[in-house]
């Protein structure tokens, strides 16, 4: 066990920190509420791209730096520490790109990877449907081949960045005569295609982070299939396995939340109340535990071990911690908790509200708490799966836990 950084890592950290200090916009970018604010975010992505920081994890042949996981973690930590802008193309850089590297043809890689890297193309994800949330394999959006074109009909929901997406990577049903996992295809669709309608979903925190996307006879070249027809379930599992990377450095973000919580505690004048102190300490403990486990996992992956179902432990840990951080803030605010105004010196209550509601969604998206516990029980502890009901059930439901491991609702 050696927790000191290598000289290279130390140099990289200092480089990144200096570069961010020089380049992160002095004024935080305005919240991304509509396409009006989009150019400033695209400009920031361009800045990152030009400095070679757009996707350091990508192989050099695709424009990345071949950075190992430790290096990626350092970048993520510094990025969070400096409070740099939210990335707007994480679904492209983190999911679509890496999936193409594994399952795409040379031509497909050449077609899409450069636009992802430069952020000229923003990507969104079309997995969940109204009746396919935890049960992702139940998707019904259909793609029917006519000559060399798929005709796509159906609806996706919980599509992050759906409002701004230039491209969407989708799961579509190409075969209804086989068990439900076996008739799914992974398809790339140009969001400017005729027949696509995007409707924003306003969240209960009044943000519009998600969208519904409707497909009405949308024509898609058959060449946009990635990984083979009816082979989309396997491709999707690859995609979801990349979601693991998104947690890098997030303990730094939670530490910022905890700092804000401390601010609320002090503004309410209860920093000497042992009950409040105990709660703050308990949350701090959890984030430290989270940090140490993150480092353990980094080392494990670096040593060549696969990321297994332990990813569900990670998700369950941070999502419940995040919810509790913000719930504790609401508790401490007490009678001020409802006031969506700057009535408490130094505390941005409206921002706390936004995060509070979003933190509660963390126990839902990317596999609900209940789904995570199933995965942990069955795949970490090896407990028996639930017996299949006697009633008729779509084939293939045995792997429900696995199926829902990383769904986006």
């Amino acid at each position: 066990m050696d927790l000191n950084p290598t000289p290279d890592q130390q140099v990289f950290r200092e480089e990144v920190r200096a570069w961010l200090a020089d380049n992160v916009p002095a004024e935080p970018l305005p919240p991304l509420k509509s396409s009006e604010e989009l150019p400033s975010y695209k400009a920031w992505e361009r800045t990152l791209y030009e400095a070679g920081y757009a996707a350091i994890s990508w192989p050099k042949e695709f424009g990345g730096q071949d950075a190992d996981l430790m290096t990626q973690a350092i970048f993520a930590e510094e990025y969070a520490r400096l409070g740099a802008p939210n990335r707007i193309n994480t679904l492209g850089l983190g999911l679509a790109g890496p999936t193409l590297m594994v399952h795409g043809t040379k031509e497909q890689q050449q077609q899409w990877l450069p636009g992802i890297l430069s952020c000229d193309d923003i990507w969104c994800q079309g997995f969940s449907e109204p009746d396919a949330g935890s049960d992702l394999a139940a998707i019904r959006t259909s793609a029917v081949l006519e000559d060399d074109t798929y005709i796509v009909n159906g609806q996706k929901i919980w599509t992050s960045q759906g409002r701004y997406g230039d491209w969407i990577f989708m799961l579509v049903r190409t075969n209804t005569d086989v068990p439900k996992h076996k008739g799914i295809t992974f398809l790339m669709i140009d969001m400017t295609s005729e027949g696509i309608e995007v409707r924003n979903i306003t969240q209960i925190n009044n943000d519009a982070g998600f969208a519904e996307v409707f497909f009405d006879d949308v024509r898609v070249p058959a060449a946009n299939v990635v990984g083979g027809v009816d082979n989309g379930w396997g491709v999707a599992m690859t995609t979801l396995s990349f979601e693991r990377g998104t947690g890098l450095g997030s303990h730094v973000r939670f530490q910022k939340n905890l700092d804000d919580l401390t601010g609320i505690i002090k503004a309410r004048g209860v920093q000497d109340d042992p009950r409040v102190r105990d709660k703050l300490a308990a949350l701090h403990v959890r984030n430290q535990v989270f940090r140490h486990n993150g480092n353990r996992t980094l080392t494990s992956i670096t040593n060549g071990n696969p990321v297994g179902p332990e990813a569900s432990l990670n998700k369950l840990f941070w999502s419940t911690m995040e919810r509790d951080i913000f719930e504790t803030g609401m508790d401490v605010l007490g009678p001020y908790a409802e006031l969506a105004d700057d009535v408490l010196d130094g505390v941005d209550i409206p921002s706390w509200h936004k995060h509070y509601w979003y933190a509660r969604a963390a126990c839902i998206y990317a596999g609900t708490t209940q789904i995570q516990k199933n995965i942990i029980a069955e795949r970490v502890l090896g407990l028996p799966k639930e017996p299949r009901p006697a009633a008729a059930t779509p084939a293939g439901s045995r792997s429900t836990a696995a199926a829902a491991a990383g769904t986006d609702s």
Binding site: M330, G334, R360, Q370, P389, T393
Partner: protein, 339 residues
């Protein structure tokens, strides 16, 4: 020992449920959310005409002559319906406080107007930073130096603050008190009024909790995943079983506290703190678990669930948080000489 409501009270509550769910539909509540100014004043008059505002006002003054106990049933229904009128403040707190502590003249001046819906009186007690509907209120009940004052509209100013519940219009207030505005300097009057407000809020929260629980039960029965209703999965079942355990048991504690307030029993303060601390925590659990049961759809502005979730969050902290009330109970248990 008879721990149940009279048939009259049950009829009143049944009528209230019918009336409130008819009048205060989610669509109506959304129209309040979306409006900039005060609500249509006829809604309050209409509510008063049913008798609900004057439940605790003597029949001589135009009320129904009931008390805190019956009002607590009514407030549950208000919580279920997500009522956007100041029934809690004017009907459940101010009216009985005037009845209990006001001079005859004050009673005559205010109670008939309250019961009939002519007057709205709002409240600010304890460490509450705001009072609801203060801009349209004809009066303000507040505490100063341990005494209760009833201040007319000409003697206080109100300045609006946003609430996370857009159905609540809340205001910071500045009032000028004097011997003319004094309602009572009875040392226990303020304490009882605070207890009354806490218990009324507990009753409301119990209604909120029941409502979001019932919405969740209905949803998980209908929503299917993996070829079966999600409500048939034990994980979902137990989530909602844990919720009903807290929400349902909270009700009797609130009813008892309402009885203790009404009859000013020796354990009134303890009972009020038991009720509010438990109701706040029960609603919080219902709030958390109902969103979890609804999952993604409950997280959309379009779905009605959040109308109740936000009211619940606003009221959890009103008239003492759960931990504030537990602190008060601890003092009764550990600091007071127990005979």
């Amino acid at each position: 020992m008879y721990f149940d409501f009279t048939d009259d009270a049950k009829d009143l509550a049944a009528g209230a449920r019918e009336f409130l769910t008819g009048e205060y539909t989610p669509d109506y509540v959304r129209s309040v959310w979306d409006a900039d100014g005060p609500r249509d004043p006829s809604k309050w008059t209409h509510l008063a005409e049913t008798g609900f505002v004057g439940v605790g006002v003597a029949e001589d003054f135009g009320g129904l002559g009931m008390g805190d106990v019956e009002m607590s049933l009514l407030l549950e229904e208000a919580g279920r319906a997500n009522l956007t009128e100041p029934l809690l403040e004017t009907g459940a707190v101010v009216a009985p406080t005037i009845a209990d502590y006001g001079s005859e003249a004050t009673k005559k001046e205010w109670l008939p107007r309250i019961a009939s819906g002519e007057a709205i009186v709002t409240v600010r007690l304890g460490d509450a930073p705001v009072a609801v509907d203060a801009d349209i209120a004809d009066g303000l009940l507040l505490e100063e130096d341990g005494a209760l004052h009833l201040v007319g509209a000409d003697s206080f100013t109100a300045s609006q603050v946003d609430s996370l519940d857009l159905g609540r219009r809340v205001f910071t207030v500045e009032a000028i008190t004097s011997s003319d505005t004094l309602l009572t300097d009875d040392a226990d009057a303020y304490a009882r009024t605070f207890d009354r407000a806490a218990v009324a809020t507990a009753a409301w929260l119990n209604g909120t909790g029941q409502q979001v629980l019932e919405m969740s039960v209905a949803y998980v029965k209908e929503r299917e995943q993996f070829g079966r209703p999600v409500g048939s999965f034990q994980a979902v079942k137990h989530l909602l079983a844990e919720t009903v355990l807290q929400v349902e048991t909270s009700r009797a504690a609130t009813w008892y506290a309402a009885y203790a307030v009404q009859h000013d029993l020796a354990d009134r303060t303890e009972a009020a703190s038991v009720a509010k601390s438990f109701a706040s925590d029960a609603e919080r659990l219902a709030n958390t678990n109902s969103l979890q049961a609804h999952a993604g759809i409950g997280f959309t502005w379009e779905h009605d669930l959040h109308l109740w979730l936000k009211r619940g969050k606003a009221l959890e902290g009103a008239y003492g948080t759960a931990s504030w009330h537990r602190d008060r109970i601890a003092s009764l248990l550990l600091d007071v000489d127990q005979s």
